[in-house]
Amino acid sequence: MNAYGLMAVFETPADAMHAAEQVRDAGYSKWDVHTPFPVHGLDAAMGISNSKVGWFTFIGGATGYTTGMIMIWWMNAFDYKIVIGGKPMFSPFYAFPVSYELTILFASFGSLIGMALLNRLPRLHHPLLKNRRFCQGASHDKFIVVIETADPKFNAEETRKLLASAGSKHIEMVED
């Protein structure tokens, strides 16, 4: 049997957060807390640094703005010039509204794609999602700490002890 990790179910966000602090302080690296909603303070309790999604958003936005400006200049002032109302062939002012919209459009795609890339989503298979208890809890009203067997510090007995001392009423091994 190939085990994916040890899963410990907690009843309240505070219990899960205290457990997370203990797991973090014990020096584990491949572990996670699964919650039905984002719990405030859990990032600090797990030692997660600020998300990098913003970079994707910024790159998306910059691409969008440049695309808009270059596209409009190329179409209206380079590829086929037409004088309309005696106005200049290209002016950043008339090109602005469209470039502004494209900035937002591309930045939004950047944010969503960035989130998906950083989270390695979409994922069509996950060992945890085969576990009934996990599925009935993590997206409903339970707070579940999972420490992977792949963690270099993982030791079936020590890890179970740690999670039990943190106050979990239910600990089980999840198959891969």
Binding site: T35, F37, S111, G114, H140
Partner: protein, 479 residues
């Protein structure tokens, strides 16, 4: 190490609870547990359809089919089937377009701007309001496409594709800005709505019993496990999308107003249009949110989640934006007089006292008088009353666009170019049919997707707060 962990509050220190008048009303009534929230909200999609649902869907889809028939007739015959004639070449079509786009704005305001302002009450209404946005944009998108007449040419007018002479679209035209604004708005609203749905789709997947349902919810949930490492990136992406949607929503109706303001027509050529249109859009959108949610909170037994306080807060937004709209109406008249342009003044006199006086005064009574009833708490908390006023707000805002578009066009500079627009049955049926599309989409949405953001509402309950006794915090303990 978090700061709180380094400086624990000694258990001897007693922090007095805040005085009762500072206690906010809870966002979820009756102290419902987080498990109850997913059971109850997901239950709307899981149980058998309520008795009223199928008849409602049949009525709305009949209206939808009627609209499709009208559009078919329009395309096969020409725009002459509408009441359009010189000088009124824009009438119900563009009125409906601006009306529907405006409706959408409340959804984005609730989902994005109230998120940035940390208004936690938005969580109970944001999902339904965002869905309303998407469906309203879908209804809005129909009209500019079909109003062009020979719509098979529209492919050269909308996206930048060169025509048979290799000429590109003209980016100096606000009509083209509008194409980009509305399509960006529709796309970004969809992305934002979908991002919000991912955790709830995972909840639906984990609860689903049928194989097909489990596969479909699971497919769109992208394999979400509620991992906190994922939540961290997710919340950042959600915040950024909110930050992007805010300037977007303000720009969309500004650009819609440029369609008019950039032209030279008296009554259209005013600089007040962008802020005035945005305020009006939010005003009408909240009217529609209330018209949808007040019946639904009773029919789906959501009174604990969409509370009287939620409705009252939305009434206050209607009051605020309605006042801005009323101010704009007054200011338009003032500038028409103070600006000293005789054509402008004539256009405005004609607006209030000309042949379309009835449209103008319907608009004034619905938009300027109605919202001021919401100064009274008793009226804000009377659901039936709020529902009726919200309908009047919708009617008033439709008339506002009619007033701006038709009254400004129907008398050109020369009296020989004066006319009077009368809608035909095709105009009327297409507009009614667009409600059919809107309601059909909304009914399908509320039946197959959680119409309240489950994970977000859970997050604002005291049980979700690890520093609250109900969230498991020990009395006098650290955090």
């Amino acid at each position: 190490m978090s700061a709180a962990a380094e400086h624990p509050v000694p258990s001897s220190v007693k922090i007095a609870p805040p005085p009762a008048e500072l206690e906010r009303e809870p966002l979820v009534l009756n102290n419902r547990s987080i498990g109850w929230l997913s059971d109850h909200i997901a239950g709307i999609c899981e149980g058998p359809a309520p008795k009223w649902w199928l008849p409602a869907l049949m009525i709305s889809s009949t209206a939808l089919v009627m609209m499709l028939g009208c559009i078919g007739y329009l395309i096969s015959t020409g725009v002459g089937v509408w009441g359009l004639n010189q000088p009124v070449e824009w009438a119900w079509d563009i009125t409906n377009f601006v009306f529907w786009i405006g409706i959408g704005h409340a959804g984005t305001l609730i989902s994005a701007i109230l998120f940035l302002l940390r208004q936690k009450w938005r969580t109970s209404v944001n999902r339904a309001a965002e869905a309303m946005t998407l469906f309203a944009v879908a209804c809005a998108g129909i009209f500019p496409v079909i109003h062009v007449g020979r719509i098979w040419y529209a492919v050269w007018w909308l996206p930048p594709i060169p025509n048979n002479y290799d000429i590109w679209v003209n980016f100096r035209s606000p009509l083209l800005w509008d194409v980009f604004a509305v399509s960006t708005y529709g796309t970004v609203s969809l992305l934002f709505w979908y991002t919000g749905l991912i955790p709830d789709l995972a909840t639906m997947r984990d609860r689903a019993t049928g194989k097909v349902k489990k596969f479909l919810y699971g497919f769109f949930a992208l394999g979400w496990t509620g991992s906190n490492r994922h939540w961290s990136n997710y919340e950042k992406a959600y915040l950024l999308l909110a930050g992007l949607s805010t300037p977007l929503v303000l720009s969309v109706h500004s650009i819609v107003s440029f369609d008019f303001a950039v032209s030279q027509v008296p009554g259209w050529h005013t600089t007040i249009f962008p802020p005035y249109f945005v305020a009006g859009a939010v005003f009408s959108g909240f009217g529609m949110v209330l018209s949808l949610l007040i019946p639904l909170r009773t029919l789906c037994k959501l009174e604990d989640i969409i509370t009287v306080r939620h409705v009252s807060l939305m009434c206050k937004v209607i009051l605020a934006t309605g006042s801005i709209v009323g101010y704009a109406y007054g200011m338009e008249f003032f500038i028409a007089w103070y600006g000293g342009n005789p054509y402008e003044l004539a256009a405005f006199k004609n607006r209030a006292f000309g042949p379309y006086w009835w449209a103008y005064w319907s608009m004034i009574s619905c938009n300027v008088i109605c919202p001021h009833l919401f100064w009274f708490k008793k009226l804000r908390e009377n659901m039936l009353f709020v529902f009726i006023v919200s309908i009047f707000v919708n009617i008033g805002m439709w008339f506002e666009r009619f007033v701006i578009i038709v009254i400004s066009l129907h008398r050109d500079y020369l009296p020989s170019s004066w006319g009077y627009f009368r809608p035909t049955w095709v105009d009327v049926c297409t507009f009614i049919g667009s409600f059919g599309l809107f309601v059909t989409l909304f009914l399908l949405f509320m039946r197959y997707l959680p119409m309240i953001a489950i994970s977000e509402v859970k997050g604002v309950t005291p049980q979700a707060d690890p520093h609250h006794p109900q969230g498991g915090a020990k009395q006098g303990g650290h955090h």
